[in-house]
């Protein structure tokens, strides 16, 4: 029954010291809120980058013309490319653990349709392109190997191009003119958003690479080769096999190509986001400490008054543990109230940032637990420890405390 009274006493004490209670809770709110917001935003940014990395496709290897290892980028990429469709066919034929191969052609061109025009990237690819890049077709279908063989005038277009040229929808089956050659739209790519480098990936038109080479670019060589390895485990082996195969085909000439996997490409971008996460975590840590110091200050400032209060309670018959329980209940109430409000504010702020940036919010349960536990421990320690000392005094000593 004394416990009920003690709860009552604790509630009265909190009400009696409204300002102190609010300030203490505020310390906890700031600490918890900041940690949750910062960690969520950091995680969100990281997840966003990871999603972008994934949007490159899974286990993708790219073969570029030019060598980074011998004599720098000889000839550059594309202009005087040394890669051929035969190279690509050799990879398809002779490399194991390969799920798909696509020789790539790239050119910018003006596209006309519907009385509108739009400058965009024209990609020449094989039908594997859609699976290699994990890029589904939203409506219609990918062009086929038959289309490649017959140098068909068919195209699959990105969302941005579709929106620009066909504001009213109904793109499928329509005709677009690329460099004045009509292509029939057979499919629309699903929206993919921006890539790691901030380019709109949906601003593109994909046609069979043969059609691109013969009708658009009119070049014998290809810009690059996309290869999809069977798994993350095989990716390095496949990379090596491709290098060996192409070197063999070069018959002792200098290496004039480079084989890179998507992980290497993504590393630069993820490094940035990791730096940001570390930075945000540091801010969060500082906030937590600042909040903790706030709680500590308030608790310590009121020690004299509270010691006298304890003296009065002991004098009228409170046991040491009644007093300790009261202080514990006070600390728990403040910590949980502050914790709940802090969580709400932290999550709210993350939502706001997510709304503005389009990042996913990922509230990490660990950060919630750590932040609340830390604040509660600080609150309990600095509220409880002086109280414990006071409760061990004789009542007369506690009353004399200055």
């Amino acid at each position: 029954m004394r416990v009920i009274n003690t709860i009552k006493v604790a509630l009265r004490a909190l009400r009696r010291n409204t300002m102190r209670s609010i300030l203490t809770a505020l310390g906890i709110i700031i600490g918890v809120g900041a940690v949750i917001a910062m960690v969520s935003i950091g995680n969100g940014a990281k997840a966003q980058v990871e999603a972008q990395v994934a949007s490159l496709g899974e286990n993708v290897i790219t073969v570029f013309p030019g060598s980074f290892t011998a004599g720098g980028m000889r000839g550059g990429w594309g202009s005087m490319s040394t890669l051929t469709v035969d190279d690509s066919e050799a990879i398809r034929r002779e490399t194991v653990n390969v799920l798909g191969v696509s020789p790539e052609m790239r050119d910018r061109a003006q596209v006309l349709a519907n009385g509108l025009n739009w400058n965009t990237q024209i990609m020449g690819e094989s039908p594997d392109y859609s699976t290699i890049r994990s890029w589904p077709i939203a409506s219609g279908a990918m062009f086929t190997d038959q289309d490649v063989r017959s140098v068909a005038k068919v195209a699959v277009i990105g969302k941005t191009v579709a929106d620009q040229l066909f504001p009213d929808g109904e793109e499928l089956g329509q005709t677009i003119r690329i460099r004045n050659i009509p292509f029939k739209i057979v499919g629309i790519l699903a929206a993919k958003g921006f890539n790691l480098f901030g380019q709109d990936q949906d601003d593109t038109v994909v046609i069979p690479y043969t059609s691109h080479m013969k009708r658009i670019a009119r070049r014998p060589n290809i810009n690059s080769i996309l290869v999809q390895a069977a798994s993350a485990k095989t990716i390095e082996k496949v990379q090596q096999d491709i290098t060996d195969l192409l070197m063999q085909r070069r018959k002792g000439r200098e290496q004039d190509f480079t084989v890179r996997n998507q992980v290497e490409l993504a590393q630069a971008a993820t490094a940035t986001s990791e730096t940001m996460t570390v930075l945000l975590s540091a801010i969060a840590g500082v906030s937590l400490v600042v909040g903790g110091i706030g709680i500590m200050n308030i608790m310590l400032v009121s020690v004299t008054e509270r010691t006298r209060e304890i003296g009065i309670r002991l004098a009228v018959g409170a046991h040491g543990r009644d007093v300790l329980l009261q202080f514990l209940i006070e600390a728990v109430i403040l910590s949980s109230l502050g914790g709940i409000i802090g969580i709400a504010l932290g999550v709210g702020f993350s939502e706001l940032v997510s709304l503005k940036t389009g990042w996913p919010i990922l509230v990490s349960p660990t950060s919630v637990v750590v932040a609340v536990a830390f604040s509660a421990v600080v609150g309990v320690f600095f509220g409880f420890y002086p109280a414990r000392k006071a409760a061990q005094l004789d009542p007369i000593e506690a009353l004399r405390y200055e």
Binding site: T6, K8, R12, R16, A315, G317, A318, H319, D394, P395
Partner: protein, 254 residues
Amino acid sequence: MAPVVKIEEIHKIYDSGEIPVHAVRGVSLEIHRGEFVALMGASGSGKSTLMNLLGCLDRPTRGRYLLDDTDVSQLDRNELADIRNQKIGFVFQGFNLLARTTALENTELPMMYGQRHHSSREMRQRALHSLEIVGLSDRADHFPNQLSGGQQQRVAIARALANEPEILLADEPTGNLDSKTSVEVMGVFQKLNGQGITIVMVTHELDIARYCKRNLILRDGRLVRDELVQDCLQADEEMRKLREAEAAAKLTSA
């Protein structure tokens, strides 16, 4: 009948400072049920120290203290706390009320830690009754800083009475009060004493001591005089005289 308070050769030595202070040097004393004792003496003679020992707020360095036949020197902290809660009402020299806490809630305080459980309503009623005894029921919801010194003193008395103690210990209950309020407080004490409560109070003032039935004088930690008061003053009567004098003063000044 056994005395309520029986102390034998009690000593208190403070040795917290550089030189130990021997504040109480071998006091022996018996106080019986229904007594009304004034403890007097010069400043620093050890009155407060002795009161704190009697109130079980502090422990004697040497000597025996029997309260209601129990040897309190043998009790542990919690048992002492229960004795303070159940048997003793203590009125501090400096009031020691909880700040920002109403007179009513201050008065309820001892009941919070009582062995018997009271419902909130019961506690409130008993606290109100205590406040009524000291004539403060109309100030129940006031905070200490909204009360005069005398009113705060009376809240402290009401709190001391809340658990219906056998013995009321008051350290200079009239120390901060003007003479009229002092007489008022003495009136309250006489009324309580009339109802059978044993009272020990510290005072500096001789005329206040004359409201009590027995006077003790302490000098340098020793009891030097112990005498019964012959013709005790009656607070009611003195109050009437004071009012008459006041009225007369008004008449003359008018």
